[in-house]
């Protein structure tokens, strides 16, 4: 039981830290808190009393700890304030976009993990041979590409030059939602962003899979398995991969924090209607509430994923089962 309590406590602390950063950011930033609420020319034309009134409206005249408490309780009631550019509650704006980002990330995670693990195992199997050397060099190169640039190059290739895939949005306007054509359009528009994300994410998964396999293949239990006539296939999958799974599993899940950031940037290239397009909007118009909301949401998703990772870890590693 202590094991679960411990990880729950750890995640609670991390979440609180993220929320605290969020709370203090506007208060640490240069300038007056009012700057984050109203445009400068409006502030200039207001009287002292009016300013105080606005501050009171937003609870900014309360002592800091009170503001902090109000903020925390607000967050847990899904109150992230109002977006100045969209003119709607941040939470509503985010919830509408979240499914698209999740779809994109989910597909990218699936593709990158499958491809990365398969290729990584292949490279480990063929260590030092041509296949390994070419896989590794490709990965070193791909890992050096900015993902959004790769996305742009994909558009140039598949949309501008070949004209195969649409480069804009997530679905086709004018097609009834849920119809066959609608799904086709969604998939067509998913291919390139998923590719761009999965290539970059897959490169790191591949390296992890390869080095985890190489490490386990060096172990004494592999030698012993071979020495008792176990088939090479069984040695590779039953013994080496089974053990390589442990570092692989944690590392892939830890990469999720990077994946969500990558997704935000990629979305802007494809004008994908997920959270990413809100990021650009938030940045250009300095919509602080919106950006903070995105940050909190991203944190919560990553923490939730990591939490599940930890929760299921004892299933694949018997040595941690006793720790409970």
């Amino acid at each position: 039981m202590g094991y679960y309590l411990r990880i729950i406590a750890q995640y609670a602390v991390t979440l609180l830290a993220a929320l605290t950063i969020n709370f203090f950011l506007p208060r640490l930033a240069p300038g007056d808190p009012l700057d984050a609420i109203l445009p400068p020319d409006v502030i200039g034309s207001m009287s002292e009393a009016e300013i105080n009134e606005v501050l009171a409206d937003f609870g900014l005249d309360l002592p800091l700890w009170q503001q902090y408490w109000n903020y925390l309780t607000g967050v847990f009631a899904a109150d992230f304030g109002t977006s100045t550019t969209l003119g709607m509650p941040v939470w509503d704006a985010l919830i509408g976009r979240l499914p698209w980002t999740l779809l994109l990330m989910g597909c990218a995670l699936l593709v990158s993990t499958l491809a990365g693990v398969a290729l990584g195992m292949l490279a480990a199997r063929k260590r030092g041979e041509f296949a390994d050397v070419s896989i590794i060099s490709t990965v070193l190169f791909v890992g050096s590409l900015p993902p959004f640039w790769l996305a742009m190059m994909l558009i140039i290739l598949f949309s501008t030059t070949l004209g195969w895939l649409p480069s804009f949005g997530a679905y086709k306007l004018g097609v009834p939602e849920g119809s066959w054509a609608w799904y086709v359009a969604v998939i067509e528009r998913l291919i390139m962003p998923v590719m761009a994300l999965a290539v970059v994410q897959g490169a790191s998964t591949l390296l992890i899979a390869r080095s985890a396999m190489l490490m386990t293949l060096e172990q004494d239990y592999i030698l012993f398995a071979r020495a008792r006539g176990t088939s090479e296939r069984r040695v590779f999958f039953g013994h080496a991969f089974r053990n390589a799974l442990l570092p692989l599993y944690t590392n892939v899940m830890l990469g999720l924090g990077g994946l969500i950031g990558g997704a935000l940037v990629i979305e802007t290239v494809f004008s994908y209607p997920g959270l990413g397009s809100l990021v650009v909007q938030g940045v250009t118009s300095r919509d602080y509430n919106l950006l903070q909301g995105i940050f909190v949401l991203a944190t919560v998703s990553v923490l939730a994923a990591n939490f599940l990772t930890d929760l299921f870890y004892p299933l694949i590693d018997p040595r941690t089962r006793q720790a409970r």
């Binding site: 991390t14 930033a29 890992g143 742009m152 008792r228 006539g229 924090g257």
Partner: protein, 827 residues
């Protein structure tokens, strides 16, 4: 020979001669070129990056190599000035984040305790925040500028290196040379500056490279999102404008989008090349052409269970070729137990693995034949030899701890071994085999970490021989086990040999163990078999000098003592008075758990001047804990440690104690730092006691080296321990112990990690030192015979209690306690 080529263990870059080194230099060359372009940008372009100098969207031409963007700015100028931004951000972030990481990891790693826990909690939190959204939010609040970018990126980059550097510091801290330094009375400052920092410093470089690598990519992403400094033209900003103007829908992408992206990739790839050398798994593996195996000169013996003829095996590495086995022939008769005896590096394990076709890729069989059942194992294809393994010829491997798959149950691994030809395995077959090796049916459900060392070895034996092979190759099957457990395992193997009619080739360095049981011994030395015969034949008349050395190095339990007795004098120098000690295990959060595992219970002992006291016990008996208590490295839970009658505690007493009591550790490889010269190693006690300013340091070091019969010329003083053999290293350890003329040397199993043939030299050295300097010795060992020959008095320790104590010969001839009797029987 390859071993003579000295390679410095930790260097910033790989040697240029290797592929890894070449790749690293290529990375450095590319990066230097980019840096030169960045610095010389004003000379390379006539225009500034933000000057409107041409028509919007102008195509590339002689005046504008890459054309112009939507605002009429020269793209080539933007590109080369962009290198300035990327490199500046990359390097600044790397400097800031690495510095912060180094400081925090040192604080955490050296202090430990709550500082460590607090810092690591913060690191955990920082690592689980999604960093790009965080950077975006921070960037927006703090305003777009280069300084903000650098600070913000550094803010999300410091945590990962703290975690890695800290774990490296912790592993350095746990090394024996740090403990050795503490045992000499060194304070935290001395250890940190002299040992930990020099070891950890080279590890900072890969962290630096990695941060620069990520920082450049993150900077590009930020600028692409419009969070860059609007006054600076960075590569990300070029792409931001291109994206905003949907340049990829027009033809201008070729000179607008491609060059900036390529520039980022090339820069980051160059960093990846430099970092390439730090990940050992990425370095290419040495490949060599395999030539066909030469036929043996002599015919194998078809009657033998296993017959090896003229076997030669070589290892290839980047540094050259080493011949590990040269022209070895041996026969294993049916039902025989043959001991293949040799020291480390003699080629005995290589021979064993070659017979099974399980050599590593770097090894090459050059010549010979291995005949089993009329078939030559060296010339079978992989599938055929695989079918023989386990069924005709089996391996009982070294180190049972690591030979069992940690995530599969014992029963699972046993049934996999049994189920070869698609047979289904019932519980009964598994229990039968577990019972045969002395395990219970319930152990089938256990994982290897749930078993003790002896039980693991039993499980390994069951898995190895469950298909009743004809030939078993046992490669050091008892190494690392407690003395008494070794006997049990040996007895089990003998019993199974009888029941299952096995022919066993027993590969070991443990001559006394195998000499008692083998039908015949084969002595291997430097890749060749130098002697063969029964143990008694070899003992009586060995042909090779090495065999004689080996047998002479085995003191027998009967007969005269090898070393004369000392005369204990005066009051006790060092004493334990009713000392108890236990250890708390720590849980994963770092809090001490409530249960204390007792290690020592109510132990009292005295060590007098000039005395040789033997402390004998098996693994886990608490003998090393006694050494650490007497060194003042640990404090007792109850009772007292007295030095010349005064309890260890007051500063003055501790200082006198540190000067008078020295320790020699079991592991001569771990107890001195490989990057220190012999002079620095031997003079360390003087340095700690603040005596180095007296100017006679080198003289005192020379005297100490003379006393341990090592050269003391300048060339030797400047050598590194990595160039010395185990025996020489242990001599250096003794030189370090006597350099400040101590009254007591605590020797914790000083010979057990050395080759058999040099063990006696070290024992004789200790005797010489005692006679020359009158030093008292506490000799800690698991070998009661050795203790009997060397010591005046013996204390037998079992499970943390003194079970027997008395003059050496009395204890050996009339043992009172059952445990002592068993130790003597096993000797």
């Amino acid at each position: 020979m390859a071993a003579d080529v000295y390679v410095k263990p930790k260097r910033l870059l790989a040697p240029v001669a290797t592929t890894t080194g070449k790749v690293q230099w290529l990375g450095i060359a590319i990066l230097t070129t980019i840096a030169a372009v960045a610095i010389l940008a004003p000379l390379l372009s006539a225009y500034g990056p933000t000057d409107a100098v041409c028509d919007p969207f102008e195509h590339p031409g002689p005046g504008h190599l890459l054309g112009c963007d939507d605002a009429g700015r020269d793209l080539f100028a933007q590109l080369i000035y962009g290198a300035r931004v990327s490199l500046f951000v990359g390097l600044s972030v790397a400097v800031i984040a690495t510095t912060a990481a180094v400081i925090l990891s040192i604080l955490a790693g050296l202090n430990g305790g709550w500082t460590d826990r607090l810092i690591m909690r913060i690191v955990d939190v920082a690592l689980s925040l999604p960093f790009l959204p965080l950077v975006i939010v921070l960037g927006v609040y703090l305003g777009a500028s280069l300084t903000t970018q650098i600070l913000v990126i550094a803010l999300v980059m410091w945590a990962q290196p703290v975690r890695e550097l800290r774990s490296q510091i912790l592993s350095v801290r746990a090394m024996t040379f740090v403990e050795a330094s503490k045992a000499m009375g060194a304070g935290g400052l001395h250890i940190g500056a002299r040992h930990i920092l020099p070891e950890v410093a080279p590890l900072v470089v890969p962290q630096f490279v990695r941060i620069a690598h990520s920082a450049i990519l993150v900077e590009t992403s930020l600028s692409f999102l419009g969070l860059g400094d609007p006054l600076q033209s960075s590569w990300g900003a070029i792409l931001y404008h291109a994206n905003a103007r949907t340049a990829f829908l027009t033809g201008s992408w070729l000179w607008w989008i491609v060059p900036a992206g390529v520039a980022v990739s090339v820069t980051v790839t160059a960093l990846a090349f430099i970092g390439f050398g730090y990940d050992a798994s990425l370095s290419p593996r040495m490949r060599h052409r395999k030539s066909p195996i030469k036929a043996p000169a002599a015919q194998p013996d078809p009657e033998a269970a296993l017959s090896v003829r003229n076997l030669a095996v070589a290892f290839h590495s980047e540094l050259g070729t080493t011949e590990a086995v040269r022209d070895v022939s041996l026969d294993l008769g049916r039902g025989d137990l043959v001991g293949l005896v040799g020291e480390s590096g003699s080629g005995k394990s290589t021979l064993a693995l070659a017979a099974l076709g399980l050599l590593r890729v770097s090894a090459e069989v050059r010549q010979g034949a291995v005949l089993l059942d009329g078939r030559d194992l060296l010339r079978l294809d992989q599938d055929d030899i695989r079918r023989l393994r386990g069924h005709k010829i089996a391996l009982i491997p070294q180190s049972a701890m690591n030979s069992l798959n940690p995530v599969v149950t014992i029963g699972g691994q046993l049934s996999e071994a049994l189920a070869h030809d698609g047979k289904t395995i019932d519980e009964a077959a598994i229990s039968t085999w577990l019972a045969r090796v002395g395990l219970e049916a319930r152990h089938a459900r256990c994982f290897s970490h749930e078993l003790s060392g002896g039980m693991r070895q039993r499980a390994v034996i069951a898995i190895a021989i469950c298909n009743t092979p004809d030939v078993v190759i046992a490669d050091e099957p008892t190494t690392g086990l407690d003395v008494l457990v070794q006997e049990e395992i040996m007895a089990l193997l003998l019993e199974l040999r009888q029941k299952l009619n096995l022919s066993i080739l027993f590969v070991t360095h443990n001559l006394p163990l195998i000499a008692r049981h083998a039908d015949r011994l084969e002595v291997m030395y430097q890749g060749e078999i130098v002697d063969r015969g029964t143990a008694s034949q070899l003992r009586a008349a060995a042909t090779h000098a090495h065999t004689r050395d080996l047998f002479e190095s085995l003191p027998e339990i009967a007969g005269a003592k090898r070393w004369q007795a000392g005369i204990a004098e005066g009051a006790p120098l060092l004493s334990l008075k009713k000392v108890s000690k236990g250890f708390r295990s720590r849980n994963s959060l770092g809090f001490a758990s409530r249960t204390i595992t007792p290690v020592l219970k109510d132990v009292s002992l005295d060590l007098h001047q000039r005395e040789k006291l033997g402390l004998v016990g098996g693994s886990g008996s608490g003998k090393s804990t006694i050494a650490r208590l007497m060194m003042g490295l640990l404090r007792p839970d109850a009772g007292e440690v007295l030095f010349e009658g005064d309890p260890l505690g007051r500063q003055a007493i501790l200082k006198a104690h540190a000067k008078s009591v020295h320790m020699v550790f079991q592991d001569p490889y771990g107890s001195m730092r490989n990057a220190m010269s012999i002079l620095d190693i031997v003079s360390e006690p003087l340095c700690i006691q603040g005596l180095t300013h007296q100017g006679d340091t080198a003289e005192r070091v020379r005297t100490a080296l003379d006393a341990v019969c090592l050269p003391s010329d300048g060339a030797f003083l400047s050598r590194l321990p990595i160039q010395l053999s185990g025996g020489q290293r242990q001599r250096v350890a003794f030189a370090r112990a006597i350099v400040s003329a101590p009254k007591v040397i605590i020797a914790d199993e000083p010979t057990s990690m050395l080759d058999q043939s040099v063990r006696m030299e070290i024992m004789t050295l200790m005797e010489d030192l005692r006679r020359q300097f009158g030093t008292a010795f506490l000799f800690i060992t698991h070998d009661i015979v050795l203790a009997r020959h060397f010591c005046d008095r013996i204390i037998v320790l079992s499970e943390g209690r003194v079970v027997e104590e008395g003059p050496a010969d009395t204890v050996i001839h009339t043992p009172a306690h059952d445990y002592t009797k068993r130790l003597i029987a096993a000797a």
